[in-house]
């Protein structure tokens, strides 16, 4: 089939591009838009490296075609920091050794950002269940769990201070 025009907003910026229907959203983000923070591992939905946020929900970008993202709002890891300031979750990944090579990190950050928005005070079991959707071959997950737990505590402190 010929090319199809799509309009997508990624990290607040509007993109208007012509794509082949079979182009995966992960490839569109990386190759057409040049946003290489989103990684690609398995291309069949298992490793979680390609996770992005679409209309506010964490999803695998390797299991969505770019044409399906027409008129949607996407956020990738590049869109997390605000004015160069990392989010609390990102800072805690640094502090708690939540990454080594960093291949899995972008996907995990996108999942956990969605997860904490919907469940601000998760149990350790719930955190681990959410992380089961991601493969990390370096850290053994311990630092990642700690980074998420510390973010939960930081967020709680902030809420208390504000009230």
């Amino acid at each position: 089939m010929s090319l199809t025009e799509i309009n997508v907003t990624i990290n607040g910026k509007a993109y208007s591009e012509w794509v082949e229907p079979r182009m995966l959203l992960s490839d569109f983000i990386r190759e057409t838009c040049g946003l290489t923070g989103t990684h690609v591992g398995c291309e069949h939905g298992v490793c979680g490296a390609c996770t992005i946020s679409m209309d506010g929900a964490a999803v695998r970008s390797c299991l969505i075609f770019a044409v399906q993202a027409d008129n949607r709002e996407i956020k990738t890891v590049e869109g997390l920091a605000c004015n160069g300031e990392m989010t609390a979750l990102q800072k805690n990944f640094v502090e708690c050794h939540g990454l080594q090579c960093g291949f899995c990190t972008a996907g995990i950050l996108m999942s956990i950002t969605d997860f904490l928005e919907k469940n601000p005070q998760p149990s350790t079991k719930e955190i681990k269940e959410t992380l089961s959707g991601h493969l990390c071959r370096c850290t053994g997950y311990d630092g990642i769990v700690k980074a998420v737990q510390k973010t939960v505590q930081d967020n709680q402190k902030e809420v208390l201070q504000r009230s």
Partner: protein
């Protein structure tokens, strides 16, 4: 790992989707959540020539109930099903089962209908449909029909649906009275397909005697296996260890699982026995503790 070329259509409503499906014949394929279809397309195990995307069909995204029947539109995301209070109140077995499907990130996209049509022998939703004998509503361009779950699943990844048909909604009976249910599975890792899964729903009379029971197992055969003897064995009695043992033995005698990379047939049979006793017991305890629905 890139999919082969295909034509892409995005119908605006059900009639348009059905007409596209009709005209594309055997070359057309519906894409719902894409969480099973896209992996096999990326691996080129499936190379449909024409994809019909039903993600825009908002009419097929709903959860309703009329007190007797719970109705869920095929495009309802698994995550929406999981967090629906209505489903939890009226058909808690579904809520408990859906949490076992893949991961948060796949449930955000995967749909209830996609999982049922895909009909993986270990999948949670086909098992729940069988356990509760839900009804599948199916449409083609010139016909609408409904099929009971017991007649819908034919074999491994195969259902009663024709290439020109689409699943539109699923109906589940709402049980009233002292009802309890339980869903349990054993998988290698959280989020993996189950090695074996079991689902049970039962009803008690005022004296804690079982008045009705449905029990089904997944992962032991090509389709979810209904244990129809369960009612005969347990109805009219309070649940005893001896009765539980009898059901477990019947289950062990009726399953014929296959050995594969993940588990041997003997291990699957053992799991089927153990999970049977666990779900029946838990459903019973839950029914005893349940408040009676008005």
């Amino acid at each position: 790992m890139k999919p082969a070329k295909f034509d892409y259509y995005r119908p605006k409503d059900l009639p348009e989707a059905l007409s596209l499906l009709e005209s594309s014949g055997f070359d057309g394929k519906i894409i719902a959540g894409g969480q099973s279809l896209v992996p096999i397309m990326n691996m080129r195990l499936a190379t449909p020539e024409c994809l019909i995307d039903i993600n825009g069909l908002q009419d097929l995204n709903f959860i309703e109930s009329d007190d007797r029947v719970l109705k869920i539109g095929t495009m309802t995301r698994q995550n929406t099903v999981e967090t629906s209070q209505l489903i939890k109140d009226q058909c808690g077995l579904v809520t408990e089962a859906v949490a076992h499907i893949g991961h948060l990130q796949t449930r955000n996209r995967g749909t209830i209908g996609g999982s049922i049509v895909h009909a993986d022998p270990s999948a949670e939703l086909p098992l729940v449909m069988m356990a509760l004998n839900g009804t599948l509503h199916i449409s083609s361009e010139d016909e609408t029909r409904s099929v009971k779950a017991e007649d819908f699943f034919l074999t491994f990844l195969t259902t009663d649906m024709m290439p020109n048909e689409m699943l539109t909604e699923v109906h589940l009976p709402i049980w009233k009275g002292r009802v309890g249910s339980s869903f349990q599975e054993v998988a290698r890792r959280h989020g993996d397909f189950a090695l074996v899964a079991a689902a049970c729903q039962l009803e008690l009379d005022a004296h804690d005697r079982i008045s009705d029971i449905r029990l089904a197992l997944g992962g032991v055969e090509a389709i979810p296996l209904l244990i129809s003897d369960a009612k005969e064995l347990l109805a009219g009695e309070r649940l005893t260890d001896a009765a539980l043992q009898k059901v477990a033995d019947v289950v062990a005698g009726s399953v014929e699982p296959e050995s594969d990379l993940h588990a041997s047939a003997a291990y699957r049979t053992q799991l089927a026995k153990v999970l049977t006793t666990r779900v029946v017991h838990q459903a019973y305890e839950r029914a005893k503790g349940s408040a009676v629905c008005p």
